[in-house]
């Protein structure tokens, strides 16, 4: 019995004891043992955040030949308007074709809310199948069906036989989990249950023993490279380059994966995560169901982490020697290229905020460039990142503040005013606060830019040098723009509104 036998994946606060509210320091966090996750607090004041629907749609809307049906009120999932840019550019760099994502809304209105929306969903699926003829229709439930009790799995089961597209139900009822990383589980759950069978069209017409043997050898050297929707094609190519250099083949999955080729993920020799928070649910499933072992430890951002990531893979295939040679060449070449930037970075302070693994790995990269980390905000916390905190605690000359926060720019504004870093790296829609405080800013992921592997280190360094060379846009902004907080807010503890066991901290 695996998680995938149920209709929905469990929420991460239950499965992993993941949390979103914590105030402390990086050394403090590093000392907590793996099985002693934090008791999550609540905030008695909060700003908006995201729910699992948003990152789930970022994955789903990348799938070629897919129609997304958002079952919910009309605005639910409108974030696709921004994700569409990624669908267009991602398709273009992979297949030379610019194509808009295709998403539909059942636009539940007041009478649907009273009468139920299952009929409407059923008709929408049937009509969409005829009108667009997609390979897959992803049926995504927002909050409303979760409350009025619409059974999207029931609808899908009932009509699948009449529909030519594969129907994939994905549960994204935002109120059910505060850990939006549950999104990855939700999408993997749908894919794992519905899309991993090898289509007849992909099977060879004639049995050829020699071809079979060749295929076996190929598979024995094939790695599932689990990508994430926040990494671009350039990052994928960098990791592919490194693995190819060791004689390994790469099967990239699941973002921008073609539905008819998804079954290949069940045939590799090894699954390798690029972001442990993203992939644990699915690589475990691949191991249980298809006996594919996995590596789920490092995110290949920064010199040390990229090297660790490659070495782990090399060790699995017995390619340590080749890897050592490759890495020493790669690192020497990279370090020579970085040299001209390092004096500019030396001793500059930096503050980082983003999804947990990316924030931590990027912080480590910035240390390698000579920056001093003065604070990190992770958007949530779970057990996979414990090793990253240990790495950072070991490599930081001074302890620094750690804030687990699902966005919450008010805490960030308070912290940044006190810490006054030279540079800030933040999530999408997450650099505005620092920018208005006059801090030089740079986005911590953007699918059009490189961040990952050795080339990512160089590209990021080059961009940071650009930001530092002329940070005047933000400096002028500071003079003329204001943040929406009261003076008294800056005078109190930034974590005043994090409640622990019913009490506000420092209240």
């Amino acid at each position: 019995m695996t998680y995938l036998d149920s209709k929905e994946p469990p929420k991460r606060e239950q499965r992993l004891k993941a949390c979103i509210s914590y105030a402390g320091t990086v050394c403090g966090m590093a000392k907590k043992t793996k099985n002693c996750c934090l008791n999550d607090g609540e905030r008695s004041f909060s700003q908006g955040s995201i729910c699992l629907l948003l990152p789930a749609l970022a994955m789903i809307n990348s799938l070629p030949d897919n129609v997304t049906i958002l079952h919910g009120a009309i605005g639910c999932g409108s974030c696709a308007h921004s994700q569409n840019a990624n669908a267009r550019s991602g398709g273009s760099v992979r297949w030379g074709q610019v194509k808009d994502a295709l998403w539909l809304s059942t636009a539940l209105n007041e009478s649907d809310v009273i009468g139920g929306g299952e009929d409407k969903l059923e008709k929408a699926i049937i009509e969409a199948d005829v009108l667009y003829r997609p390979a897959t229709i992803t049926v995504v439930a927002g909050c409303v069906p979760g409350i009025i009790g619409d059974d999207i799995d029931g609808v899908v089961e009932k009509i699948q036989s009449r529909i030519s597209a594969r129907l994939i139900p994905v549960h994204c009822e935002g109120f059910k989990t505060k850990i939006w990383a549950t999104a990855y589980d939700a999408v993997y759950h749908g894919i794992g249950r519905k899309l991993l069978e090898e289509p007849e069209t992909e099977k060879p017409l004639i049995y050829d023993e020699f071809e079979e043997e060749k295929e076996k050898v190929r598979r024995s050297k094939t790695v599932n490279l689990m990508n994430v929707s926040s990494m671009g094609r350039g990052d994928e190519l960098e990791l592919t380059r490194l693995l190819n250099a060791l004689g390994l083949e790469v099967n990239i999955f699941p973002v921008f994966a073609r539905p008819e080729e998804m079954y290949k993920v069940t045939q590799a020799a090894l699954s390798v995560s690029t972001c442990p928070t993203h992939d644990d649910y699915f690589v475990n499933f691949l191991q249980e169901k298809f006996n594919i072992p996995y590596l789920l430890r490092h995110m290949p951002i920064g010199i040390e982490n990229t090297s660790l990531w490659v070495k782990d893979i090399a060790r699995f295939f017995g390619l340590e020697e080749q890897a050592d040679k490759l890495l020493s060449e790669e690192i020497a070449e990279l370090k020579a290229a970085l040299e001209e930037f390092l004096p500019l970075f030396q001793g500059k302070t930096v503050f980082v905020g983003a999804g947990e693994f990316r924030a931590l790995a990027t912080a480590r990269l910035l240390q390698e460039l000579g920056f001093e980390i003065v604070g990190i905000r992770s958007y949530h916390h779970d057990e996979f990142a414990v090793g990253e905190y240990e790495k950072l605690a070991a490599s930081s000359p001074k302890d620094f503040v750690l804030n687990i926060a699902n966005v919450q720019p008010f805490e960030e504004a308070n912290l940044l005013r006190k810490l006054q870093p030279d540079v800030f790296l933040g999530h999408w829609n997450g650099n505005g606060t620092a920018a208005k405080l006059g801090v030089a800013t740079h986005v911590i992921y953007n699918t059009g830019l490189g961040y990952i592997g050795y080339s990512g280190v160089y590209e990021l360094a080059r961009r940071l040098a650009r930001q530092l060379k002329n940070p005047i846009f933000n400096r002028k902004l500071k003079k003329h723009a204001s943040l929406p907080y009261t003076q008294q807010w800056y005078d109190v503890d930034p974590f005043k509104y994090i409640k622990v066991q019913g009490d506000e901290v420092n209240a």
Binding site: I74, G77, D100, F175, P484
Partner: protein, 446 residues
Amino acid sequence: MPNFIERPRYLCSLGGAFMTLTALPETIAIVHAPAGCVGNITWTQNGGSGLQVGGYCGGMSVPSTNVQERDVIFGGNERLHEQIKNTLDVMDGKLFVVITGCVTELIGDDVRSEVSEFRQDGVAIVAAETGGFKGNSYDGYDIVMQALVKDYVKPHQTKRKGKVNILGIVPYMDVFWRGNLEGIRKLLAKLNLEVNTFFTPEDTLEGLENSASAELNIVISASYGLETAKTYEEIHEIPYVTTGLPVGPTATDRFLRNIAQALSLDLELVEKVIAEENRVYFSYIDTLVDCYNDLDLQKYAVVIGDANYAPALTEFLADDLGWLPELVVFTDQMKEGQEELFEGLLENLESGLKPQVIFETNTSQAIGHLNRLYPKTGSHKYVKTFSPAFVVGSSLDRELALALKAPHLTVSFPVANRAVLDRGYTGYRGGLRLAEDLLSVVVAGR
């Protein structure tokens, strides 16, 4: 009602209320909803509003109760109370407005009573029920504006002669909202009117507070803001007129005459302003004439847009630029009686053109409508094609333009492929801007 809407070109009513409030000076919205609503709206603006997102207290800075499963079971009122109390400590604003999402409305949270407690203590706070299933973002603008008109605008004000409020332009949904409102204000200032546009950098919150002293409300839309105008009329006894979005000289001449009539202004002054503005407009157009002819810049056009832009752009193309808009697609969800109303808006074009008007929320189907208008028949030698063509619409209509091998300009939401700051298309100057933008696309490769 259709069973689905393809790539909806609007958000929910919460989204519309959110965008309206975050555009209002010194105002703090408090969203009573699960955590994802704020992020979803912010990301949508990031992708669809011409690179405009945030503002003083917008985007991810907006306070939100982030209700969870526990609140769904036990009710979210307690959480809302705590959130409002702490918002007043942390957030620096003069007006606080609680808006609700689907979840908190479905579980029946009593937002009004929660808010009224704070009102009794003298806090400027208002509540609006904007659950997403109530309508789209244009409706959300109307719902939250009505709440403000009822519960925030100062009642019993003495009417000021020559003061008007402008309604019907929804911030961020009309991506050119600031420029369009400014265009209207500058235009009406020429008639010596005092113009309250609520949302531009020159407006203040007092403008909203004192808006009941206006003599007239002007709804720049055949659809949006009408309920707000009716509420002003009921509560504050302000009459209203509805006009379209005046883009270019033909529509603007008519707009000024309509307003002059509604306010019984000096007609001589109005005609003088119209004559002078036309003189200026055509002295700019003058230098375009040679190239307009030499490069054969007259085009067939498909116009795709919301209820404000579809008729306004069509009229400008047909009656000012001398183009042939053959197909006009309204992308709104139609309410009862609206189809006839919108068709009527395009029945009396001065050029005598009768474009085909369709109502289609699945805009990938627009090409089908066009193929029916221009069927691929006839001999290979003599073919009446839809060419030279131009597509004016949203960024989602690029695929149509590509299929027609036609140039394309994005004006209506979503605007993913343009950066918009203070640009606007209203008035005579707006017509010049639009002509520049359209023709620049045509000659971009020159």
